[in-house]
């Protein structure tokens, strides 16, 4: 029976073969999911999947330097900017 702290699905089990030839069960914490675009659900590159270490990173290491960074992928953000440009033309 594993220890109580390891009796959860947030801890994954892996089987490791030791030098003595035994196969033992080890427990590793799962990594958090990658950030996704809220529009097209694509994985967002440039955003690290870390727990607790985010505040130690610099601001430019956390997300791209762009409006909607960390929320929209670059393609979806580009669509938003193009809509903005075209709406300016329509209004005036």
């Amino acid at each position: 029976m594993p220890e109580p702290k390891n009796r959860t699905h947030s801890v994954r089990e892996i089987k490791v073969k030791t030098p003595g030839g035994k196969v033992v069960l080890q427990f590793r914490r799962r990594k958090p999911k990658l950030a996704h675009c809220s529009s097209c659900r694509a994985k967002l590159p440039g955003i690290p999947s870390v727990v607790g270490r985010m505040s130690s990173l610099s601001r430019s290491q956390r997300r791209p330097e762009r409006p909607f960074a960390g929320k929209l992928c670059s393609a979806c953000a580009r669509k938003v900017f193009m809509q903005k440009a075209r709406s300016i033309g329509a209004s005036s």
């Binding site: 762009r66 409006p67 903005k84 440009a85 033309g89 005036s92």
Partner: protein, 164 residues
């Protein structure tokens, strides 16, 4: 061509994305020079979305001219800092710093210090002479003491032997 000189665009890629800019120069079929709320830079036409607005600009207009043109259509321009770096602070050597401190003192003070030094030297010489005399005396007394101790020791031994 839609992207002629003076056309107001919105940049759709990079860290200046979402900001207004005006085309200042056309470099070739793929690249233009832009300026305005973005940095003044070469830009691919794929990263620009033209708007219906247009401002009057000459080819290769300066940042100030773009600023004046943008004021007409209620748009702000990125404030650019001058690129002249501040001069590095000069390092002062320790020896130079000492001389700089000593220079403002008056001459009279220096003479006084010299006098004091000479007095100290004389005193030091006297002390040395005294010390030599004392050391000679000490050495004589120490010899006597050593002889005395040598004399005393066998006596003590005798005393202890007698007690036993």
């Amino acid at each position: 061509m839609v992207l002629e000189i003076g056309r107001v665009c919105i940049k759709i890629a990079g860290r200046d994305a979402g900001r207004h800019c005006a085309v200042v120069d056309i470099l070739d079929s793929n690249y233009v020079l832009i300026d305005g709320a973005t940095r003044r830079r070469k830009c691919s036409i794929l990263h620009l979305e033209p708007t219906a607005q247009k401002v009057e600009l000459k080819k290769g207009a300066s940042h100030e001219e773009v600023k004046a043109a943008f004021a007409g259509i209620q748009l702000e321009v990125l404030a650019t800092k001058p690129k002249h770096a501040a001069p590095m602070p000069k390092k002062i050597r320790k020896s130079e710093a000492k001389s700089a401190q000593a220079a403002p003192e008056k001459k009279g003070a220096e003479e006084l210090i010299k006098k004091k030094d000479s007095v100290k030297k004389e005193a030091a010489k006297k002390n040395e002479i005294d010390a030599e005399i004392v050391s000679e005396e000490k050495s004589e007394s120490s010899r006597e003491a050593v002889q005395g101790s040598q004399k005393e020791k066998p006596a003590a031994k005798k005393k202890s032997a007698g007690k036993e």
